[in-house]
């Protein structure tokens, strides 16, 4: 995927100007930068969610899957219902929950969970969906070190034979997700 952004503005504020990036197929690309520098905006452009900019993308991703910075789970329904919404395979949903140390939480409602548990449910939902392109926005937000390791190995396993783009403000995340391409903002 080759990206050329002539200009991206929010109101009068210019976010990107004459920026170009390349994201090789099957790479593990990190988008690194401090808070507020436009990382999420770039992810939305790359994934096709934001088309309001001047520029072009060559070979854009088709039906990418995204782990949003906010968990974006349906608060009033159970963990399992949130997963069943994206897959009909209940057993796979259960085993994915178990692999994220969420076994036994399938009947819990999202509003009953801690921030870290919600994040893992959002990651479980991502892992249940098939796509050639995977975008992760601050994937380890709210996770402690040991959970971060467990989650990263699951994500890396999932990202095999897929193109992975992840957004982070933390340089330490780069080796955790074995990045081989870095876009610094």
């Amino acid at each position: 995927m080759r990206v050329f952004i002539e200009e991206k503005k929010f109101g009068d504020k210019i976010i990107f100007q004459n920026a170009s990036f390349e994201i090789p197929e099957l790479s593990r690309t990190a988008v690194l930068g401090p808070s507020g520098c436009g990382k999420t905006t770039l992810m939305r452009i790359l994934s096709g969610l934001d088309k309001d900019y001047l520029g072009r993308i060559e070979s854009p991703p088709v039906n990418p899957v995204i782990l949003f910075q906010e968990d974006r789970l349906s608060e009033r329904i159970s963990v399992m219902s949130n997963l069943i919404a994206v897959t009909d395979d209940r057993n796979k949903a259960l085993s994915t929950l178990a692999s994220l140390s969420l076994g036994g939480e399938e009947k819990s409602h999202i509003h009953e969970l801690s921030g870290g548990m919600r994040r893992r449910v959002a990651i479980a939902r991502l892992l249940l969906v098939d796509s050639d392109y995977v975008f992760l926005d601050e994937p380890f937000r709210g996770l402690d070190d040991s959970t971060r390791k467990k989650v990263s190995s699951l994500i890396l396993e999932y990202a095999k034979n897929r193109t992975l783009v992840f957004i982070t403000h933390d340089e330490e995340d780069l080796p955790i997700l074995s990045s081989d391409n870095v876009i610094r903002l």
């Binding site: 994934s47 899957v65 949003f68 349906s74 069943i84 919404a85 939902r125």
Partner: protein, 252 residues
């Protein structure tokens, strides 16, 4: 917990007893059953009319029609709200109808509808019309309040429309639906009975109420009013219970 519930029930029973005493005292003070019958004579009349076949015929006549009007209205208003949510021009089209129906007095609508339809089915149309704006407005407001981020995520995850309804829209709408049902059920009864009192369909509760007024049988008027209150209460309890149960199932 149990003692708190018991205390709360005792307080409620005390409040009812207080108003029955006030009613009895006022009735004794006036001393004329024609103007204000005592609770005892109303209860006696109520017990008298309940076992009669005419009572049940009237109850089922009215119940059937108000129920039909209510259910048709819920279905039509839900469909219209969904279309308005998706199609802006449809929302603009429906808006004047909703505003006019909401602002027009029930009596005016009843008399107007009587020009077009037989009084027999009047309460179906009136309860339909009175309930429609409430259900429509609540559901549309709930749909518009659905989390946009969640809908964007649903689109990224290719969640089907049926699953979106089941897992996103319905949980988001549940408080709006409960509130709409609670408000509109009472109105369906009030407007339905008012329509029957004006249109006088044969064998309806409205006709019984009107006859009680014509024959100056105030205990009958009160007894039928008690019947209407009880039916409206049971109706509300049933539908709130049913919708609550279904929405809880959705949230599982």
């Amino acid at each position: 917990m149990t003692s708190t519930i018991r205390e709360s029930k005792a307080v409620k029973a005390g409040a009812i007893a207080f108003w029955l005493i006030v009613w009895e005292a006022a009735s004794l003070l006036i001393g004329e059953e024609l103007f204000l019958p005592s609770p005892v004579s109303v209860a006696a009349r109520f017990i008298e009319i309940v076992p009669t076949s005419g009572f049940w015929t009237s109850v089922f006549f009215t119940l059937r029609r108000i129920l039909l009007g209510f259910l048709l209205s819920v279905a039509a208003a839900s469909l219209a709200a969904s279309l308005s949510y998706r199609l802006q021009f449809f929302a603009v089209l429906v808006d004047p109808f909703v505003k006019i129906v909401r602002a027009t007095p029930v009596a005016s609508i009843v008399i107007l509808v009587l020009v077009w339809v037989r009084s027999r089915n009047l309460s179906v149309i009136i309860s339909f019309l009175m309930v429609f704006p409430i259900i429509y407005t609540n559901i549309l407001e709930g749909l518009r309040a659905t989390d946009k981020d969640l809908l964007e995520a649903a689109s990224v995850y290719h969640i089907t429309i049926m699953k979106k309804i089941r897992y996103i829209y319905l949980p988001s709408l549940s408080t709006y639906i409960q509130s709409a049902i609670s408000i509109s059920l009472g109105l369906a009864w009030k407007s339905g009975i008012a329509a029957e009192v004006i249109g006088l369909p044969d064998g309806s509760i409205g006709e019984r109420v009107y006859e009680a007024k014509i024959y100056l049988s105030t205990p009958d008027l009160f007894a039928w009013t008690v019947v209407i209150i009880i039916l409206a209460f049971l109706f509300e309890r049933f539908f709130l219970g049913l919708s609550g149960y279904l929405l809880r199932r959705v949230e599982e």
